[in-house]
Symmetry: C2
Subunit: 294 residues, 2 copies
Amino acid sequence: MPNTAKIIDGKLIAEAIRGELKDEVAMLARRGVVPGLAVVLVGNDAASEVYVRAKRKTCLELGINSFDYDLPPDCTERRLLDLIRDLNEDGRVHGILVQMPLPKQIDSGKVLLAIDPRKDVDGFHPVNLGKLLSGEPCFVSCTPAGCQQLLLRSGYDPAGKHVVIVGRSNIVGKPLVALLMQKAPGGNATVTVCHSRTRDIAAITRQGDILVAAMGVPEFVKADMVKEGAVVIDVGVNRVPDATKKSGTRLVGDVDFAAVSQKVEAITPVPGGVGPMTITMLMKNTVQAARTFA
Amino acid sequence: MPNTAKIIDGKLIAEAIRGELKDEVAMLARRGVVPGLAVVLVGNDAASEVYVRAKRKTCLELGINSFDYDLPPDCTERRLLDLIRDLNEDGRVHGILVQMPLPKQIDSGKVLLAIDPRKDVDGFHPVNLGKLLSGEPCFVSCTPAGCQQLLLRSGYDPAGKHVVIVGRSNIVGKPLVALLMQKAPGGNATVTVCHSRTRDIAAITRQGDILVAAMGVPEFVKADMVKEGAVVIDVGVNRVPDATKKSGTRLVGDVDFAAVSQKVEAITPVPGGVGPMTITMLMKNTVQAARTFA
């Protein structure tokens, strides 16, 4: 009988964290502080609209004020920067989220830099990335923070483990390397980062006590690329054709789940693994921001 | 006959870079710009005085203006912050270097944050560290930048190689991980960072096509910890007792040079390897800063 991996249930873990956040929000309310998140959407990208709706809905659930700004697709950079300046100064707003990607006429780097780092709950401002790298308190970007929580809350502390991260994107791979190598609780891992330029990648990934797949290639990680008994975190979200589905497509991760789950100790599913954690960590950062300002 | 490694001569490589910098400084001078570096020393730590003297001397050699500030050991944080504010606004000053460590009454983090990131030629401001992590143009801190130059100028491009870094300090290990994993010229390495919490460290270090030792433990890396034919960069500078020397001590690196050099393709000596590169990269950053302001 093949081994069957423990499923790391991101929905359940996210729910537990949201429960804790509700309590914190209630405690802050007794001190007269209601955490506030400004969610800025520019244009009408369908995927962005879905994400933004989900973020706003989660705010309401937790008792966080959601300040909604929907700007037209032809919004100028100036207008967006003016809005951010106002939000930086607005005492009711503790976190500012500008949904990416932005329309072409707007320089995203400039926009990120304009956000007050103390309100940068996405953790993308260079000041927060720099503090993350040097191990100072900061806002950790949401997907890496979610990966770390999935591990810790499933009993897989990365300390002393070899964590192999596949993919070096600015929103997952790079900040996750920085997060897990720190001399700090939840860190202390030996970390290897590999990517498109890595030679004999299977020889590297097979060494991971913990393997994080975050390169955005559907089912790239096969069973012969993982160590027996490893813990696998699958960050990928890829839509692939599937004639058996009504929609004609289905979601898969960066890991060949069916095969890999026969071999490993634990694995996150897609959907229902890392996905639910990302918005939850955004809420956690917003509450953290409110606590600082309170 | 045992193999004898190629010696990567940091003095020679540093000299070559200084030659290039002299030319650049001359070119800037023709446009009316003389690069200026403010070197701030607080107190009278003997080692710091040596470093600061060397930095000022190198400025003179290259035609860079050196602005010297020597503050007493009981200097207040306020006074130092006021000086930095003045230097931030001083058009003749393109780079600001505050020699670390600072006396106890001064918060170093606060001081680093006060330096205009555009003048932060040490590359320690969170904005520069954050840009380094996300791969944007920035000031790269001097020792990691020096390690990269030693590799590139000796014909050992890290691209596609497995680089193992031992040590995760804020001034070497962490920024070097960030530098070498980037999708950029001089980067593109598969990078592993290991440290005091790494299990079976020899099994990891033996995988390094390039091995960087930067943990500050005298001669920690033994011959059985390196791959045959590896390239070894030794960042360590440790003073150990030696009865055969008049001073009673000698300098050694973090690598057991005598044994390891029999086994590897190339290695940096201590002294004369990474050391001479650090000040040189500081000068390079200062010239880069002057170019931006010019």
